[in-house]
Amino acid sequence: MAGSLAASAFFPGPGSSPAASARTSKSTTGELPENLSVRGIVAKPNPSPGVMQVKAQAQALPKVNGTKVNHKNVGANAEESIPYTTPKTFYNQLPDWSMLLAAVTTIFLAAEKQWTLLDWKPKRPDMLVDTFGFGRIIQDGLVFRQNFLIRSYEIGADRTASIEALMNHLQETALNHVKTAGLLGDGFGATPEMSKRNLIWVVSKIQLLVDKYPSWGDMVQVDTWVAGAGKNGMRRDWHVRDYNSGCTILRATSVWVMMNKQTRRLSKMPDAVRAEIGPYFNDRSAITDAQSEKLAKPGNNIDSDATKQFIRKGLTPRWGDLDVNQHVNNVKYIGWILESAPISILEKHELASMTLDYRKECGRDSVLQSITTVSDECADDHPGSNIQCDHLLQLESGADT
């Protein structure tokens, strides 16, 4: 049962047999992708309909992952008495310098001047002074906390942070968590025991619930922790708050499974890895199971005349979308998916929640199309009404949907 849970986390779909699903995933030999299915994006209208709410990506660039960590915390085992294991994904560690270039042109303020402007003081005594915002492990090792300042290039046309920018923070905290705990084995988001076995983490599902989007200059505080997911998976949750007011910005949960780097096949969790990470599982949930199921339910597409479908074809990975393995970074998928969302929705609504199921990897030469199906649309435009969209990102040539 646990096994099927893990598999169903990867291929959620009522009635799909885990065994069959697992076979499908293994048919891909390498980099070429096939399918990405997204369910249940629920948009809620902007309370002031006059303001444009376009969910543009702005220039949100994934954080840089470098091979070398100059941070003085790299020998973190000395700092924390509890060895903390929170392995992460297959984000590689070599610098993707296209992002570095853009990161250079969009900048990290000198710390002193920044703190002067913001009059920033640490508000919680359990959080040590974190001068450069690298983050700290708190609550006896069960939670990692890091603050981020929203940069000008992270905001979209509606002047609030884009969903991609927020997801980049999630990625950054996850990796910093693992790094601070001293468990970033061989640069591939794998623990030492995983690296020995050529295993890497891959994301299979992400679910986000956004309450409020931050603006340029806001400071956000991200808490993240891990737990088990079925027998072979790991769950990582995040809770993001506005640093000054404490209001929730977003909550997110994600499920990760292990894959063999060479064969690209999913793997069970070896006992040695479980021994590494098990002690750090935290039962807390950012999104409850009930909420999660509700969000993930596909829309009602009973009447094909009434539902509207929007397609955007010819999406190809750009130079800046790829990591050193020539794979598309998973945050980039969000931008592609939203490309096909109709502008009428984007203009008057903001993304309230999103559920993503990752099925296949995508490489440089893939040509994709993004299909949006709008369902459950309210006839009137009054504030508070929700629209649900189902999205599919697939290879233009792919037969599977």
Partner: protein, 252 residues
Amino acid sequence: MEVGCNHAQSVGFSTDGFATTTTMRKLGLIWVTNRMHIEIYKYPAWGDVVEIETWCQEDGRIGTRRDWILKDLANGEVIGRATSKWVMMNQNTRRLQRVSDEVRDEVFVHCPKTPRLAFPEENNGSLKKIPILSDPAQYSRLGLVPRRADLDMNQHVNNVTYIGWVLESIPQDIIDTHELQTITLDYRRECQHDDIVDSLTYIEEGEDKSMNGSASAAPHKEQQQQFLHCLRFAGSGDEINRGRTVWRKLAR
């Protein structure tokens, strides 16, 4: 870009991201970039802390310049330099406008009085002109389309996106073996969501080839590759940007 905006905001310019002075807003004027020149000597890695210093000053009678120096905070080493030219444009007519004395007084009170350049040396790369390019280009990537994510608050393509497009048509074997050392971009026209853009790359012969055949010229040629670029509208062929990139061979 972030530091520039933060500088402007901290001295009381508008906080809408446009860094306009009071008079500019009254006259419907905004700053637009004319030219951008960036040199990176050493790329930072994940977890590094970079310190950026920026300032602006007058640039002739036409506009302003903004310069940056980037340092690795840990050791104080200069890892990059950049300079840019800006002019004022009328938001509605989209035409360039000279800086009036009123505006100059508002802006330059916050700038260093003694001229200071990120690139003080003579004949530096930031001054080199980029020639008009004539077909055929050696490399190209056609049919680039702005994504929603590329648009700024004005629904125009953000100038950082152009860098990505310029690099789209660089051959993969250069990308695999070199890193970008210098990029210069001349911005000519604006681009919007419905436009289609072609990116063209031309190999630029290094001038050192024609110098005396000293030993220093030969290894220099191997260590660097140089290209000229053009971004233009697919339909009309009008230029959006012109650029030059210099690539440094990686010691892998």
